[in-house]
């Protein structure tokens, strides 16, 4: 089995969208119930958007205690590619698997709108096929997306190439107007030090079909699938899993460079 797991928390809203988007790409995908603690056989994991546990207390604050999150932490440690989208990003931050926190938008409101983000690094499973600097158009839909970390932590994130996506304008430049929620350093997505755990506020699964206005999300989900399949976790080949994503990313980068760029090569 080469399936990507999509975790279903009570209150997840984008689980079906993620499963559908992966099916559009021809990727195998399965739902993973929040009470499950066995993630064996999965090549990657998505924590989808929504309002897990109603987002009561704080977005993602309760979901981090669900049984599946302990398994996620173990697998992440072992190198499993894990992508948190929107509420999934909030959960990963609450669980300490990603640095920083997501505060209420400066507008004080929920915001649903298209944004541009710039890929800052190709070292993660979702950006492995992107040239750094690639600008993608993706939708956001959140009330708590303002990325925050203390100054020292921010400097560390930048130095270690852990900023994965930044809000920019269509020309690829970060401007005050292109930052929808007041995120520090215009950060739209980050990864852990190893690069296998990624969180992002925009929704790539909402941008995989021309009828939905953008196909830029395909690039990210397809890369996750390719890198995931080439990754062999400790449960299958006994180790070495952490190196695989990086190796795969090199190979896929070469493919992307050979292609016409953008997210269209897997259409």
């Amino acid at each position: 089995m080469n399936a990507i797991g999509v975790v279903v928390f009570p209150g997840s809203n984008c689980d079906q969208d993620c499963l559908w988007a992966l099916s559009v790409l021809g990727a195998e995908a399965v739902p993973v119930w929040h009470e499950s603690t066995d993630l064996s056989g999965l090549v990657a994991l998505i924590l989808p958007g929504g309002f897990s546990y109603g987002d009561y207390l704080r977005a993602g604050a309760i979901a981090r205690f669900s049984p599946v999150m302990q398994a996620v932490a173990r697998q992440a440690e072992a190198g499993l590619p894990v992508l948190g989208i929107c509420n999934g990003f909030q959960i990963l931050c609450e669980a300490g698997l990603l640095p920083g926190a997501l505060l209420p938008n400066v507008s004080g409101r929920f915001q649903c709108e298209p944004v541009h983000v710039r890929v800052e690094t190709a070292r993660t499973p979702v950006t492995a096929t992107c040239e750094p600097g690639t600008v993608l158009q993706l939708p956001i839909a959140h009330a708590q997306g303002r990325y925050f970390a203390p100054d020292a932590a921010l400097a560390d994130l930048e130095a270690r190439e852990q900023v994965v996506f930044r809000y920019v304008n269509a020309a690829g430049e970060p401007t005050p107007e292109s930052n929808p929620n007041g995120s520090l350093h215009a950060i739209a997505g980050v990864c852990n030090r190893e690069g296998n755990v990624i969180g992002m506020m925009p929704h790539p699964e909402r941008a995989v079909h021309p009828q939905l206005g953008s196909t830029d999300g395909r690039l990210l989900l397809a890369a996750l699938q390719k890198v995931g399949v080439s990754w062999r976790g400790p449960g299958t080949d006994g180790g070495g899993g952490q190196r695989a994503p990086a190796a795969a990313s090199v190979e896929l980068n070469a493919q992307a460079a050979a292609g016409s760029g953008g997210g269209r090569q897997w259409q």
Partner: protein
Amino acid sequence: MTNEGVCPGARVHSVSKGTEMSDHPWRQHGMSDAEYERIVELLGRHPNPLELGLFAVLWSEHCGYKHSRRALRRFPTRGPQVLVGPGENAGVVDVGGGLAVAFRMESHNHPCAVEPYQGAATGVGGIIRDILAMGARPIALLDSLRFGPPTDPHSVRIAQGVVAGIAGYGNCVGVPTVGGEIAFDPAYAGNPLCNVVCVGVLPRNRLTRAAAHSVGNICVLVGQHTGRDGIHGATFASVELDESSESRRPSVQVGDPFREKLVIEACLEIVEQGLAAAIQDMGAAGITSSLAETAARGGTGVEVEIDAVPQREPGMTPYEVMLSESQERMLVIVEPQNVAAVQTICAKWGVQAAPIARITEDGLFTVRWHGEVVGQVPVRFLTEDVPAYDPPARPPTYLSTTRQLQAAAFAWVNEVQGRLSPAEQLLALLASPTVASKAWAYRQYDHQVQTRTQLLPGQADAALLWLKESPTRSQAIALATDGNGRLCYLDPRRGGRRAVAEAARNVACTGARPVALTNCLNFGNPDDPEIFWQFTEAIAGMSEAAEALGTPVTGGNVSFYNESGQGAIHPTPVVGMLGVAEQAQRCRGLAPTGVGQPLLLLGALYPPGWPDRPEQALIESLAGSQYQALFGSSLAGQPADVDLELEQKVQQGLLALYERGWVTAAHDCSEGGLAVTLAEMALAAGIGIRATLPDGQGRLTAVLAAFGEWPSRVVVALHERKQVGEVQRLLAADGVISIYLGETTAEPLLRLMTGKAEDWLALDLAALRQAYQTIPFARAASNACSGAVEEAREAGGACHVGQQQGPLDNGVSQGRG
């Protein structure tokens, strides 16, 4: 009122005697003396307080449609596409490909007047459950909202609260809010309108009906505990608002969208596994109405055990349990052997499932508590013997003034020309709250969750939802809401006709064929003959249009008593129109896709009366218009009627162009007239437009050609100039006149010329955009944001209050068109 006058010869106990009734308890329930006497007559005895409560809620206007039932029979409700018509939780339409669509609109006006956030939130929750009751997955929400003027702080508070409530509930529950409309008018200052549409999709063969036919089946209450909240919400909805309304706040329920999401998933899993014999939503009047209506449809009885109902607090009386309107509850009727399986599914989703009642054969509604029968009445008394009134109706006296106008009463039009240039007039129209972009509202709604929203708010006259589950993968449905209180005030019949026609036209503008409609009828107190006349006229007008356009009425909701100290609202029937497109890929929004695309105006090129009766043309094109609301001295005149035959041809002609794949954009002419239509198309596309006003070579004043409002007009953009002749010939063959207006231009300018080729107006897109993006209560919005602004500045960020400018931010109003 005497007994004899109401029920001659009946066995009626005198209600003026008898000590137990000396305090007229039924009056506190909003019942008339005659209604109480009727209950006594039916039962042959006095009801006990619990039984009186059952009658009070089921005989309320909200549940019983006392004043409206007979008038509503006028609506056409049949058609080959209609699977379920009025009378169920929602209408259901066959959309082909083995799929069916359930949809319905409901009002939550009074709760929003008292507690805007929770009023709107629970309105959303309630209509979602109506769709769920048909076994459908809710896939979209639309909201039709009316508020007082944005200069009134109270109205601003209500508007912001309602929008926040819709966002708070809809976003969390995972159903996208894809469209609707927002209008501001002093008529709604004391009584806002909040009408919510929900749409669901289901396999045609899985249709679930809320009828309990099988004796012995078990009624399982799925969802939240029952508390003391919302008792008498149904009766609250059935009186006018006054100073005491504030004290009614406990009648407004509190919503929990997270629980609703779990209830949705649990119920759909129950339906998918074939475990539900019937499902019923638990809305107004709670357990009482859902049990009674389910049993009534099945011709059976029901016995409910109060002790079995999970209760939020101890010491609740049977009366409170039966009448509670606690939210996020559904009633699932199952065969006894399936109860355990239903409970297992609910446990998985963390949702309570309690068997509370049993379907019986005796036709009685029996309430048991602590082992005793505490109330028992025949089900049919509650649901079928509801009084039906034919209140007196007469034309309002104000019509004698508004309809007797001469052209002289429109002298202000000339005065405006002397004061403001055409460009200034257009900018003022674009900045007026009803016309201006509604991005400030719809940006707060998640309109893309479920990944099927093909045309987003602001991109088209209707929302377009892709039916990914269709066998062809290419089907879509379009949805639009439309209503215009000003037109209905001046002529409810024409206003009703135009509401249906415009909603259908909006749907057709995306390339979808209108197939059926739902509605919300918002009116004042029906006991006022003038109000009731408005009501019956509007229904007649809507019915005529629905018949002519082949769009039967599949259900809806009546909201009376929309009055406050400031009087009754404008009569405001709101239409929710459903359309179907077989080729979703061909559907388009209102933004032309490139430079050099020709623009055609289809349909009624000139106002009624033109050119022979210029006075009629003047009055009918401005009566009730946005132009009159903004610049005129008062709401006056008789608005233009819609030629339904022409309307039908225009829509079919437009769809014929879509079928050939010739359309790149379409937008109907509505509030603000043709000039606003063209400005919105230019703004949506981010390119210029150069067009000649169809002013009959100067014989129609440019002002009327630009800003006048009359129905059956659509602006269509085509791919290439050379298509124009062929398109016009094709349309003419179908009886549709069209005229070439101009084309899209690289120069970012809206340029309108008169028929004599003189420049009449030229405005660059930046100026148009600035006007169009006026937030109606910017000051209030910026205050709300100011704390965050400071914080953000310190953090190096920036604050945007609905002013973002993404590439898709076309800043077009939310489905208004």
